[in-house]
Amino acid sequence: MAFRALLTRRTLAAASGLGPNGGVATSFRGLQTFSLPDLPYDYGALQPAISGEIMQLHHQKHHQAYVTNYNKALEQLHDAMSKGDAPAVVKLQSAIKFNGGGLSDLICWVMQAGGGEPPKGSLGWAIDNNFGSVDALVQKMNAEGAALQGSGWVWLGVDKELKKLVVETTSNQDPLVTKGPSLVPLIGIDVWEHAYYLQYKNVRPDYLKNIWKVINWKYASEVYEKECP
């Protein structure tokens, strides 16, 4: 599963500056389980774009639940596989996909640690090339994020084979890789209602306008430069 690779301790520490206690707990019965990583900043650090109340709930309740359920599903999967219970294995696929959404949340936290200064360097150049300008990219992502029906994510990704930037949306907690196996996320914006409702209520477009103030372009540039050296 492509997204498992992203959860190694080394990748987390390198890409996000999370401490040694963030991310991965090690083996129990030969099965790797995961723990909820700390945010690399205080809950209130992204105000006024995102309220501390939302950040705390989103992290401590929603993200935690995904991690807990993901671990449960992994354990059940391990059992089912060792018993050769094929129907159970298949049934657990969706639980793993749903709860692997914790990974999307993880990326989301890392991606929102920045002060929103626009990208420079090769990513800035690639954005101008692919979309015309950073503004144009933002408009496009906001339009697609606003139009997404139900729950999901809007992404800026790089196709590491084609060396192209793409804007994609996914439903529910489907990771970007479900839209293309060579897609790597650079920016992910959660448009589940829990990501903004307490502060922005039904006005998702206002949330989308404001979230750009805290997008971590530094992280996006680092990942881009790694995939497109």
Binding site: S94, G150, G152, W192, E193
Partner: protein, 262 residues
């Protein structure tokens, strides 16, 4: 009694549902006559400069917005009905103006734009109007309690007990991942003789598109409960079942459903 899940698109693969997502379905309008035609629609009149056409109205709930307190706050109703439900109505009216859909009933628009799972753009708005009208009717001040009469008889026949029905409904509502709805529905042509079933559906999808007649619904989009319950969807579901559900409304809808099916 198995819980049915209505997928936004039809194909089943490897035993679990692969959904392309309603957004993608809505982008392809192949195979169906839903097009903007430019003839003047019969319901619009030109008075001076402005043409005013409002095909669908925002129906108010059958009780004041604060009537469901403390279980569902007036604050929630003011956003859920006043903003979300209202937006679906406004947006559908804009979408269908000057098209053949303007002449159709809401239910017909829902079925036609579902388009066998390849959703057309008006589906989301049309179905969400229908769903929300139905949701307000599924609740009442002083709700909860137990059903009686013919409804209770059928529940006991098809689920074993009222408690078993509640268990299934709660489970469906709790496990509908992402946005969606849980339903009690009536199947007019059951292959196994069981006319009542629990259904869960994603986003705007509802049991009408499967040929079932809805009897009861609970909205599990986060906007339905987030202001009052935050992430605690199970608490919201419990309160819905214990304090809000209108079994009278369900009985009335069952009578209509049986008459239709006869």
């Amino acid at each position: 009694m198995a819980t049915a899940t209505v997928a936004a698109t039809a194909p089943l693969s490897n035993g679990f549902l692969l959904r392309r997502g309603p957004n993608e379905g809505a982008k392809s309008a192949r195979g169906l006559q839903w097009t903007k035609n430019h003839r003047q629609s019969p319901s619009s009149r030109r008075f001076g400069a402005a043409v005013i056409t409002a095909k669908f109205d925002l129906k108010p709930p059958p009780y004041p917005l604060n009537a469901l307190e403390p279980h569902m706050s007036a604050n929630t109703l003011s956003f859920h009905w006043g903003k979300h439900h209202r937006a679906y109505v406004d947006n559908l009216n804009k979408q269908i103006v000057g098209t053949e859909l303007e002449a159709k009933s809401l239910e017909d628009i829902v079925i036609q734009t579902y388009n066998n799972g390849d959703l057309l753009p008006p589906f989301n708005n049309a179905a969400q109007i229908w769903n929300h009208d139905f949701f307000w009717e599924s609740m009442k001040p002083g709700g909860g309690g137990k059903p009686s009469g013919e409804l209770l008889k059928l529940i006991e026949r098809d689920f074993g007990s009222f408690e078993k029905l509640c268990e299934e409904l709660r489970a469906a509502a709790a496990t509908q991942f992402g946005s969606g709805w849980a339903w009690l529905a009536f199947n007019p042509r059951p292959s196994d003789g069981k006319e009542l079933l629990v259904v869960k559906s994603p986003n705007a999808v509802n049991p009408l598109v499967l040929g079932y007649i809805p009897l009861l619904t609970i909205d599990v989009w986060e906007h339905a409960y987030y202001l009052d319950y935050q992430n605690r969807r199970p608490d919201y579901i419990s309160i819905f079942m214990e304090k809000l559900v209108s079994w009278d409304a369900v009985s009335a809808k069952l009578e209509v459903a049986k008459a239709q099916a006869a």
